[in-house]
């Protein structure tokens, strides 16, 4: 298994979640000051780091063992299906696209009405923690199945978080043009593919090309998602 593959998956998952977190941190920063916004975000990152540090190395020390793959794999499949079906719904027009500008405007209005700095701190903390929790779970589960590559998945997630938050602060505007849905679809396909590989290994299935079967899965699920997007597409009114 290639470290770039796991690191790339956590990078993209973290990037897309941090785009959403950055919108909230930005709203707090503009309305209640950067100190409040960044303190809330820093505490959230610390809480996420505790989760990763507490569980990641413990699971990594177990080695990639069958029963762990059998627990982690199905979780990855369910996560993958959740990410992918939302991306399909949005691409097909069944669900509204994630509008960062609208979310930003709503948060700013709420924070201006609240004025209390504690609300700003809590909003910033919650925004980063909730969005980052799924990424932390993904990093920890990667550690359980591919212990040697724990560093890759941690650095993938951390790099994306730092880049996105720094860019949001520098630009002072929400990322309205980031192709969030396309990134979510890619992450969904990757989680589903890795989950299939690991669950199968846990069940004792013999993949026809070993670890390289992962690329077959990526192709199969990407093609399925494309087909489902066409099937789900709403008919255009005449």
């Amino acid at each position: 298994m290639n470290g770039w593959l796991l690191g790339g998956t956590t990078f993209l998952a973290s990037a897309v979640e941090m785009v959403e977190a950055a919108t909230i941190v930005l709203a707090v920063g503009i309305t209640q000051g950067w100190r409040t916004a960044l303190t809330g975000a820093a505490w959230a990152f610390a809480a996420l780091a505790v989760i990763i540090v507490a569980f990641g190395p413990v699971l990594a020390r177990q080695g990639a063992i069958t029963w762990l793959e059998l627990i982690v794999g199905p979780f990855m499949i369910l996560f993958g299906i959740t990410w992918l079906r939302k991306a399909i719904w949005r691409a097909a027009g069944r669900k509204a696209m994630h509008d960062e500008q609208a979310i930003f405007d709503k948060e700013v209005a709420m924070l201006r009405a609240a004025r209390d700095k504690r609300v700003g701190f809590a909003t910033s903390f919650q925004g980063v923690f909730v969005e980052g929790l799924e990424v932390a779970v993904i990093v920890v589960t990667f550690a359980a199945t591919r212990p040697a590559l724990l560093g890759w998945s941690i650095w993938g997630a951390v790099a994306a978080a730092l880049i996105v938050i720094a860019a949001a602060i520098a630009l002072r505007a929400p990322f309205a043009r980031v192709p969030e849905n396309a990134i979510k679809a890619v992450v969904g396909v990757m989680l589903l593919s890795l989950g299939t590989l690991w669950t199968g290994e846990g069940l004792g299935l013999q993949w026809w090309a070993g670890d390289a079967t992962l690329f077959w899965f990526v192709a199969i699920y990407a093609a399925s998602a494309t087909l489902l997007t066409f099937v789900e597409r709403k008919p255009v009114a005449a």
Binding site: L78, R85, W89, G200, L203, L205, S224, L228, E232
Partner: protein
């Protein structure tokens, strides 16, 4: 009960088809050891694909 619902929502995104389909895929792989290994693996993947399709066809919560 609310905590269970929150966890279920976090893991399965509120889908019923996804956990049910996944359970079918796993049980099929476990209880079909007599199948040719490649057919067994391909069946597992096919059921996961069908699960994705079923989850996508679900009503949006």
């Amino acid at each position: 009960m609310k905590v269970v619902h929150e966890i279920y929502d976090f893991v399965a995104g509120g889908s019923i088809a996804a956990p049910v389909g996944l359970a079918i895929a796993i049980l099929t792989a476990v209880f079909a050891p007599h199948l040719d290994p490649t057919v067994r693996a391909a069946t597992f993947v096919a059921i996961v694909v069908l699960t994705l399709a079923a989850a996508t066809r679900e009503k949006i919560a």
